[in-house]
């Protein structure tokens, strides 16, 4: 049992001194024996109150939850479904009712095939690629998305954040305005939300998150650590790996999930979304509700302040094209900003267009390519080295913007590499220095 002082939320000094004396700032005198006896009686009485009958036995009031969302406007749903095609969501996600992207455009399946040794390529090349592939290995399928709140979906699509700490890539910031994001959210969650159950705040939910080993995979930032107990079911290692990678940070659950759907999901995830890495943990209805109540109502500490994003000073040594190409452009950028001559005119989404982006004609696969710039919003060629108003070269500003996105910000420039791990600041410093030195070939 917690001490009475904590239950009443009283500061420590008030229990030793009367409120009046505290307010007057008087020096406390040593308590007389009679006073000590009286204090003991009061404390005992209060303890009884806290343990037994009285107001504390009343169940806490149900959580105040957002009003259920009505069914989406069918016209918005139709527009949203068209957007799924335009934005090429199927290049990464499986989406019911939409044909998967062909292998040569399917980022995730291509990577999976390479790792599985199934991709048609010479063994030597395959082995080299297998060593390099770290991103986009597993992405959640967009099934059972009716469990999400449309309002959250629309916000998230416009400003994706690090929802799944176990993945080293995030949902990319696609070219979406608020209206399009709302349409897409309508397509993903078209149905009316079920009325929420009467959930009551309870610390039991916190205990269950630990004892059912939920926190083995899930992080829950903003609440005190919850050590995971023993996993109550057998879980294969591949499934555990997928779970560790895809488990969302539970601090977002209150904005992200519809409460009734959350309870149903906790009880049997696979029934709603076959193939999900979230295992079915045996839970009573009441337990699922207690977990849901904790997820939806536990006090959250604010996220830690992001470290400042510093543009490092220029290096005082010579930087060559060979060095920046190897460290940055060929290592990271090339895959999406490729030479369109490589095959049938498509240089990847950053060159020939894709994911809803217009072709920018930016080829980062060679020195002449990068020197040839990219197309601006009006179709005019511009240098990617031209300084922005603050003096930062455009290319460097895009690389820095990805750090800002990773820190939860929504910078005006789109961060690059799109949705992937930010390029280390020391590598950006290298690019910055190379540009300042006149971009030696």
């Amino acid at each position: 049992m917690r001490p009475l002082r904590e239950q009443l939320n009283l500061p420590a000094r008030l229990t030793a001194r009367s409120p009046a004396a505290t307010l007057a700032g008087a020096r406390p005198r040593p308590p007389a024996p009679a006073a000590l006896a009286l204090a003991g009686l009061v404390a005992a009485f209060a303890t009884i109150l806290a343990c037994g009958t009285g107001p504390k036995d009343q169940p806490p009031a149900p959580l105040a939850l957002p009003a259920p969302e009505p069914a989406a406007d069918p016209a918005a749903v139709a527009r949203g479904r068209a957007l799924i095609e335009t934005l090429e969501c199927t290049r990464c996600h499986d989406v019911p009712g939409h044909e998967p992207a062909p292998l040569e455009k399917h980022c995730v399946r291509c990577h999976q095939d390479i790792l599985a040794g199934k991709f048609p390529a010479p063994p030597g090349e395959l082995a080299e690629w297998q060593r390099h592939i770290t991103h986009l290995l597993d992405v959640p399928a967009l099934r059972a998305t009716d469990r999400f709140r449309r309002a959250w979906l629309a916000d998230y699509l416009q400003a994706p954040h690090d929802l799944r700490p176990g993945l080293n890539s995030t949902m990319p910031r696609l070219p979406l305005g608020p209206a399009q994001a709302a349409d897409l959210a309508a397509a993903l969650a078209p149905t009316a939300e079920d009325p929420p159950p009467a959930l009551r705040p309870s610390d039991r939910g916190r205990e269950l998150l630990g004892s059912k080993a939920c926190t083995l995979c899930h992080r829950f930032t903003g609440v005190p650590d919850i050590p995971p107990g023993k996993l109550p079911i057998d879980l294969s290692e591949p499934l555990l790996r997928r779970g560790l990678a895809q488990a969302p940070d539970l601090r977002h659950t209150r904005d992200r999930m519809r409460p009734a759907a959350l309870v149903a999901w906790l009880r049997d995830p696979a029934r709603h979304k076959p193939g999900t890495p979230m295992p079915t943990i045996p839970l009573q209805e009441a337990e699922a509700e207690q977990i849901a109540a904790y997820l939806l109502s536990a006090p959250l500490a604010p996220p830690p302040a992001a470290p400042p994003i510093e543009r490092l000073p220029l290096l005082d040594r010579r930087v060559t094209w060979a060095e920046v190409e190897a460290r940055v452009f060929k290592k990271t950028c090339w895959h999406c900003h490729s030479d369109p001559d490589f095959a049938r005119g498509d240089g990847g989404p950053g060159n020939s267009g894709g994911f809803g982006f217009a072709p920018r004609r930016l080829d980062l696969a060679s020195y002449p390519g990068i020197s040839s710039g990219s197309l601006d919003d009006h179709g005019k060629r511009r240098s990617v080295f031209a300084p922005l108003p603050d003096g930062t070269p455009r290319l460097v500003a895009h690389l820095l913007a990805r750090h800002a996105e990773a820190a939860g910000q929504t910078p005006e420039l789109r961060g690059m590499p799109l949705g992937l791990t930010p390029i280390p600041l020391t590598d950006i410093q290298l690019v910055d220095t190379w540009i300042a030195q006149g971009r030696p070939q």
Binding site: C110, A121, F342, R344, R361, G373, K380, R381, G438, P440
Partner: protein
């Protein structure tokens, strides 16, 4: 001349054809495709200044198709192969032969090869601009920002070998320089030469400076320095 007319007719056919379906095609595809390996090898030889071997590598892979306009699967690679031939001709001033009557010892052979190179690079610019026929002769009529800078710089290099093409070459390179889109050091060196020819000494000086910033030590940015 009849060769150029024939090529223009073929080009019109090609540019009127429907656009190929896009495919991903990047680092993965290029290693799977053996033709690509040959083109890459030829590009490497070209960069080394080994023009004859670069040409024979392309001719071995493509045969006579290397000189003709081609559409269909592999069109992009074919264009890249033709660029190797065109630049080999330009950098050898027409001395290397890429086919019968195209390049060699006589002035007529050299001029024919240079004319072929100019035409090939004009067609490449149009092909890269969504097959925009209007873009063949006039870069301001290209839809994608006055044409691909790399191809424009290549074209300028070829045009500069024709007495009637030097003004156009200067315009192309000056535009690239003004917009900070010069794709390689040789472009700055040529801009300096053409600028000096036109009395733009200040522009020529700047072009030499940029060339020296970018170039490796073995490129002569300012021919007047050692004279």
């Amino acid at each position: 001349m009849h060769r150029i007319v024939l090529a223009l007719c073929l080009a019109t056919t090609v540019l009127a054809a429907p656009r190929l379906a896009d495919a991903c095609g990047n680092t993965v595809r290029r290693i799977v495709d053996s033709t690509n390996e040959s083109v890459r090898k030829a590009e490497f030889l070209l960069a080394q200044g080994n023009y004859k071997q670069a040409i024979s590598t392309i001719r071995d892979e493509f045969g006579d198709r290397a000189l003709a306009v081609h559409d269909g699967p592999g069109a992009q690679l074919h264009q890249r192969a033709q660029r190797v031939l065109a630049i080999a001709v330009v950098r050898s001033k027409g001395a290397v032969s890429i086919g019968p009557g195209l390049g060699g010892k006589t002035d007529a052979q050299r001029q024919a090869a240079i004319a072929w190179s100019v035409l090939t690079l004009r067609l490449r610019r149009a092909a890269l601009d969504d097959r925009n026929v209007d873009c063949i002769l006039d870069p301001t009529r290209c839809t994608n920002g006055e044409g691909d800078p790399h191809t424009n710089a290549d074209l300028a290099e070829a045009l500069a070998l024709q007495p009637t093409g030097r003004a156009e070459a200067y315009r192309l390179l000056k535009d690239l320089g003004d917009r900070d889109l010069m794709p390689f050091a040789e472009g700055w060196a040529l801009l300096a030469e053409l600028g000096r020819e036109r009395g733009d000494l200040e522009g020529a000086k700047k072009a030499v400076e940029r060339c020296k910033q970018i170039a490796s030590d073995n490129l002569k940015c300012d021919p007047s320095e050692n004279s």
